[in-house]
Amino acid sequence: MRRIELEYFAQLHDAAGCAAERRETEADTAAALYDELCAIHGFSLSPACMRVAVNAAFCPWDQPLRDGDHVVFIPPVSGG
């Protein structure tokens, strides 16, 4: 089990009903973690239109997660 710090933005924030949470998970990649969270929170955004950041840096979806990692799934951005 890994302990992961999560922060949620935009539509994911609305769906999760919180801005941040800490979870224990068996998921070993960001992709697996997102699948797990889809089942829990009912996220409807496809990973195909998103990016993922681990410890505040963009990374591949299949990057292995480590205990204590901070993970943010990045919905389509709309700044500017």
Partner: protein, 136 residues
């Protein structure tokens, strides 16, 4: 990344270098309507640490790609009313081609990849996340 209005004049003065002959700037303003809906304001949220590093990376890429002297970008976070300046980009260069090119590059890249999200507040009372950009 600014939580309150910024004095643009101060940002611009830092770009006033003696070798700069052309200065191009872009501002994004909160518009009154979007897709035909009346907007009362926009709430900007950011994943700040990544937005800052990504913004800095974009300015460095612009400096490498275009013959410019200096570039700055500012993005407001929080609730903005119609008419407020959400984003400001300023580029100083010896010649105007580079100033225009770099300024356009920076705003395009900010819109494409900086983790900032806008939630529009409509006159009718609802809100909505703006999911995808107009690519104009």
């Amino acid at each position: 990344m600014a939580d309150a209005p910024v004095a643009i004049g101060v940002l611009q003065r830092e770009l006033l270098l003696p070798q700069a002959g052309g200065f191009c700037s872009f501002e994004g303003w909160v518009r009154q309507t979007n897709d035909g809906r009346a907007v009362s304001g926009i709430d900007y949220k950011a994943f700040r640490p990544l937005a800052l590093t990504e913004g800095q990376a974009i300015l460095e890429e612009a400096t490498a790609r275009f013959a410019i002297c200096a570039a700055t970008a500012m993005h407001r976070i929080g609730y903005l009313a119609v008419g407020e300046t959400a984003v400001w980009i300023g580029v100083a260069a010896p010649h105007r081609d580079a100033a225009f090119g770099a300024c356009r590059f920076i705003i395009d890249e900010i819109k494409r990849r900086v983790p900032i999200w806008k939630q529009e507040h409509y006159e009718a009372g609802e809100t909505g996340w703006v999911a995808c950009h107009d690519v104009r």
